[in-house]
Amino acid sequence: MVMLLALTLLITPQEPASPAPVPKQPLPDESTYVEIVDVPLPEHVVLEVGGMVQFGTSMFVATRRGEVWRIEDAAGDKPKPTLWAEGLMEPLGLIERDGWLYCAQRGELSRMRDTNDDGRMDELETVADGWPISGNYHEYCFGPAVAGDGSFWLTLNKPFGGEPFGRAPWRGWAIRIPAEGGSFEPVCAGLRSPCGVGTAPDGVVWYTDNQGEWCANSKFTPLEVGDFHGHPWGIESCKLPESQVEYPGEVPSGLRMAEAAKTIPNFRLPAVWIPYDKCGRSPGDFVWDTEGNFPPFKGQVFCGDQYSSEVFRMSLEKVGGRWQGACYPFRRGLKSGITRVMWGDQGTMWCGLTNRGWGSLGGSTQGLQRLVWRGVTPFELQEITATKNGFRLAFTQPIFAGSVVGPSIEVTSWTYDHHEPYGCPPRDTRKHAVTGAGVSAGGMHVDLEVADLELCRVYEIRCDGVLAASAKATLLHGVGWYTRNAAPEE
């Protein structure tokens, strides 16, 4: 009681403490700010999207059926798709470099072009191959992402079930192929189902992984040479001469995450845990918004989810020399699982869809949709960053300081076990006392002081009670999940 009083005094600089009544108008929702636009396509064009790239005046879409469709006027009312290439093996990525389209097939990195300009690919070069395939359906090969040094990075899914042609090495690995091709280096081990692989503005390649066995929760992590990401399936390959990852030894099942990070050699904690069922279920592809396509969130990462058919966003900061950050809801309601995302014209994002084999929210099994920014800034929790004793919350609009009272911001945290069973429910869940909440002068930030902080935990910060200064609007989402692996010293 004493503490609550003190808190109230601390955070009511200008206005009386009585909370203002919530306006009774219809509340804005996600669609007020971001429109979902369907791309109409004829029935025979099955776009189970594996990769997308804009090249020349056309959009190119690689599909899980091994086709590449070229679509003219993709953003128009009557897009014109034509079959540009076929006979590839489940390409799950597509980029353009020097006039070639690069894609990862299951067994090779390839590049393709149309030399006689008849609208059909006529030259396909094998840039690199040599990672074997056991014939298991789950041996997906994602990419490429091009790192700052021009090298190509691919992520290799681990198999589930039968391996008709015998067990293959390098499954569950990230591999690097030099810009000129020819060979590959296995650089990171311990991946599970790394559907998203992309490059940060600084040239480092990141990936997303999906919750499952040895992957306690979905995650977003940079790929740095020599790291072990936790899944022991492919670690025997560490003993092969090409491996750039030290053999981690037998991986014990059931360690608390902080313990795993300390004891398993080269174990890499994710930069962002993406809490299962709170923020999607199965993250896919992601892009950095370096241009400010969705202006209030410039610099953040936008990621599609293969199950929940939503795009969520993530903010990152470097703390103690390593990246960490938070994820937030953004836009739900697409028509199928999102495997690939790509920026379109200013203020738009392409979402490539497929849910074949796993199912998703939304009524379709495949297709293309776009998110279109409507130009209105929502009242949102813009970003969570770590401070020495808590977190700093940034908002997209000035807040009504009077709404920042005791229960209006709640902090809960948990951790996970690194173990073999499928996924891990939150462990050691705690409610944290908010011991201080200072609203910045312009009302754009709140500095939270939080009791009992510990590292290697996910912090859920809910600020449903925080109102905007103007019109006393409520937050559109008002929640974020911050992965606190390290704390700033100041």
């Binding site: 006979g87 590839l88 067994g107 006529d122 014939g135 199912g359």
Partner: protein
């Protein structure tokens, strides 16, 4: 047991009915001979010449086989018309039954059967659609009194004797069961319903949380269970269950149903979905409410199991009923009981048996039926029967009272039968004319015909079996033989079925039809050229003569009615008929739906018709015509205008392959791991389901025919081969580029049409270094270089080698 039952039926079918003979008003010469045949005159009288064998007919059933059937009290078997044909009185017939009963044998036990209530109407529908009435009179057999459901089903599914006057129309096990249920409908026990839930168990890949389409899928198991659950499944993953029952709801009011399942489940009451518990998920409960009146309601529960844990529970609660698992006692399947009448064993008196034996002796039953030798030892032998041509009217007593009339009307027999007469007798005797018409004779009675079901709008041709007039001119002898032997049916749209007659009859008919209809026909196949084949394909397609508007092609749908598959016609029809049929169809078959597409009938028209025949002569390799319907939703890949390329895991090859399907319906596949040619085949290309369905990754095998696994060339020194990539030609063919050591080469295949099929042309071009290839000798296909078997060949940069694959 089964033997004696079927013999009873067959005996009924095979024995001529002498009474009928007597009432025939006028006997033409041929028909007279048929009468001689049907009355089994040859069993007693020598006919002379080649006629004895021709006219003797099929053997009748041994009399001992009737012993276990006899129910003297009930007057069974009721062979009254057969008996009276031999001039027997009712008393004679009764005594005869007593004697038959004394012939011994073990009486089979007859058992009650539980069958689906839907089986009886289904059986009736089958009997009508398959035109059983063409041979059987509506109430011909009192089967309810002489057999049970299991025995009759077994007989209908597989009679033990074939090739008699009532040919056996093939039935599946469930069809036989339904037909048996209808035939035994008098055994239906009113009000008898078995408890429990009927279920069907399907094994199939469950790709997601939706109810899979099981239409057309054969259940792995079906039965009745008293508990809805997963216990009836026989594996742990990838299956679906469907439970059906009539639910006896005890009170009016609101009822709550719930399912708890892992993975998906659904519950319908009277066809309305009440609980939707779909999804791939751990066990979860869903509820639904529905207002129901007291009394029976139809319940259906469906369940899917993908993988992992499996669970299914169904609960209900309602007025004054606390929630509980749905018990089998409150439900009844729609199962009904057929209860056979018990067999009343006759107690034969010695006198009656002796009298019956004498009746049989006098009627000469042993002339047709096999009788144990000692049975008639004590009785005086009847007078020896004279040879037919020595008979005179009033000579003596014929065992068949109508015999003298037959004799009088037939008169003297010719020393041998003309071919046409032989054919006619055979057609009649084998029951062919019960369904088919030939030269205006035969065909279905109107009462039977009116129940036939029409599938395609093709008029008379789509409804009844084909007219056999001129069939020997129409069909190739091999095809005719196949149709008769296997009961092969080319007309998918005719619901009636052709019975198989076996090899001997097949050869006989192929010969007779050919000799009678086509003795003077000289047929020549048009000479092959690839140009003619291409022209034929164009003519068959849209923009040509549009054959594809009404005919299917290689199993692909046409645009309109699904007329007979064009791909069959080359092997089916004789060349002369084929040309005539295309040019003037209605002169060969008035009122045919086949339009006259060539009105002139000049030389060019004949060339067109021949071009279509040349195209069809390619068989499996015949390219599909424009307009053929390719189902966009099907994952069966169908190249029509361009090659289709498909990257897949190929079974026994590798996990990194490229399969190429061509419009010439001649296909090949490369292994890209060690770049090499792996397979060649013809016909249908590939089903992409293994690669395109679910998370895929099934190992793929070719569809189609003529599949050859290639033992590919070796390269001298065997340096490791490395895939450099692929070019794609303007036509869409891949050119695989390979490096091995210092050598680089390109490898390309294209399909080429050739007489009676197709061949593959492989071009290997050396780009750098010196390539020394060695082709192994293969047994099942030929590799030719300049018409000689491929052996060792050396290529320097810029040189090419053309290898022809024939098989």
């Amino acid at each position: 047991m089964r033997v004696s039952l079927c013999l009873l039926l067959l005996a009924l079918a095979a024995c001529g009915d002498p009474k009928q003979v007597a009432t025939t008003p006028h006997v033409a010469a041929d028909v007279g001979l048929l009468t001689v045949h049907q009355a089994h005159c040859a069993s007693c009288h020598a006919l002379g010449g080649g006629l004895d064998a021709e006219l003797r007919g099929d053997a009748a059933a041994p009399l001992a086989s009737f012993a276990t059937k006899v129910d003297a009290a009930a007057g069974l078997p009721d062979l009254s018309s057969h008996f009276s044909g031999f001039g027997m009185s009712t008393e004679d017939a009764s005594d005869l039954r007593m004697w038959l009963a004394s012939l011994g044998g073990e009486r089979p036990s007859r058992n009650a059967a539980e069958i689906s209530g839907g089986a009886i109407p289904r059986g009736e529908q089958l009997v009508r659609e398959l035109a059983c009435g063409a041979c059987h009179a509506p109430a011909e057999l009192e089967l309810s009194a002489v057999t049970d459901h299991a025995q009759l089903t077994a007989f209908l599914a597989k009679p033990e004797r074939a090739s008699v006057a009532v040919p056996h129309v093939p039935l599946t096990g469930s069809e036989a069961s339904a037909v048996a249920a209808w035939l035994l409908r008098e055994q239906l026990q009113e009000g008898a319903r078995a408890g429990g839930f009927g279920y069907e168990y399907y094994e199939l890949k469950i790709p997601n949380g939706d109810w899979p389409d099981v239409t057309g899928l054969k259940p792995k198991a079906r039965g009745v269970t008293d508990k809805i659950g997963t216990a009836v499944a026989t594996r742990k993953a990838n299956y679906a269950l469907q439970f059906d029952a009539t639910l006896e709801v005890p009170a009016d009011g609101e009822w709550r149903f719930a399912t708890r399942s892992d993975d998906g489940s659904w519950l319908w009451i009277d066809g309305d979905l009440v609980v939707d518990n779909a999804g791939m998920k751990p066990a979860a409960r869903k509820d639904g409410r529905v207002s129901l009146s007291k009394g029976p309601h139809q319940l259906r529960v469906a369940y899917t199991q993908g993988g992992g844990g499996a669970e299914l529970k169904v609960l209900w609660a309602g007025p004054s009923l606390a929630e509980q698992e749905l018990p089998g006692t409150s439900a009844s399947t729609s199962v009904v009981r057929l209860v056979p009448k018990s067999v009343v064993a006759s107690a034969p008196t010695e006198g009656a048996v002796a009298r019956g034996r004498a009746v049989a002796r006098a009627a000469r039953c042993d002339a047709c039926h096999q009788v144990r030798e000692d049975e008639f030892e004590q009785l005086p032998a009847p007078l020896a029967a004279k040879a037919w041509n020595e008979l005179k009217l009033g000579d003596g007593k014929c065992a068949v009272p109508a015999g003298p009339t037959v004799f009088e009307e037939v008169g003297a027999l010719p020393p041998q039968l003309a071919l046409a007469t032989r054919l006619k007798i055979a057609l009649k005797a084998d029951g062919c004319l019960s369904c088919h018409v030939r030269d205006g004779e035969g065909g279905l009675p109107p009462a039977v015909r009116k129940h036939l079901r029409e599938v395609e709008d093709l008029g008379e041709e789509g409804l009844v079996p084909p007219d056999l007039s001129m069939v020997g001119r129409r069909l190739r002898p091999e095809w005719l033989e196949r149709v008769v032997r296997e009961g092969h049916k080319s007309r998918d749209y005719v619901v009636m079925r052709m019975p198989p007659y076996g090899d001997a009859k097949a050869k006989q008919y192929a010969e007779l039809f050919g000799a009678v209809d086509a003795a003077d026909v000289v047929d020549n196949e048009p000479p092959f050229s690839a140009e003619a084949a291409a022209h034929g394909r164009t003519l068959a397609g849209i923009g040509g003569r549009n054959c594809i508007s009404c005919h299917t092609m290689s199993g692909r749908d046409s645009l309109g009615p699904q007329g007979m598959d064009l791909a069959l016609q080359h092997q089916r029809l004789r060349p002369g008929w084929f040309r005539d049929w295309l040019l003037k169809p209605s002169s060969l078959r008035p009122n045919t739906r086949m339009p006259s597409l060539w009105l002139g009938g000049g030389e060019q028209d004949a060339k067109d018709a021949d071009a279509i025949r040349t195209w069809l002569s390619l068989g499996e390799a015949a390219p599909l015509p424009k307009g053929v319907v390719v189902d966009a939703k099907s994952m069966v890949l169908v190249p029509v205008d361009r090659p289709i390329l498909h990257g897949a895991f190929l079974k026994g090859v590798s996990a990194r392959c490229l399969a190429v399907g061509t419009p010439a319906r001649t296909h090949f596949a490369f292994d890209l791991v060690k770049p090499r040619l792996a397979w060649i085949w013809r016909g249908d290309f590939l089903d992409a389901t293994g690669t395109w369905h679910g998370r895929a990754g099934k190992l793929v095998e070719p569809l189609g025919k003529d599949w050859q696994v290639i033992d590919d060339f070796t390269i001298e020194g065997e340096p490791k081969r490395r895939l450099l990539g692929q070019r794609r030609t303007d036509e869409g063919y891949p050119v695989v580029r390979v490096a091995c050591g210092d050598v680089r080469y390109e490898d390309q295949l294209t399909a080429r049409l050739a007489a009676n099929g197709s061949e593959l042309v492989r071009t290997i071009r050396c780009e750098a270094g010196t390539l020394v290839l060695r082709f192994p000798t293969a047994s099942s296909y030929r590799t030719l270089v300049q018409d000689k078997p491929a052996a060792q060949h050396t290529l320097t940069a810029g040189q090419s080698l053309e290898v022809i694959y024939q098989w």
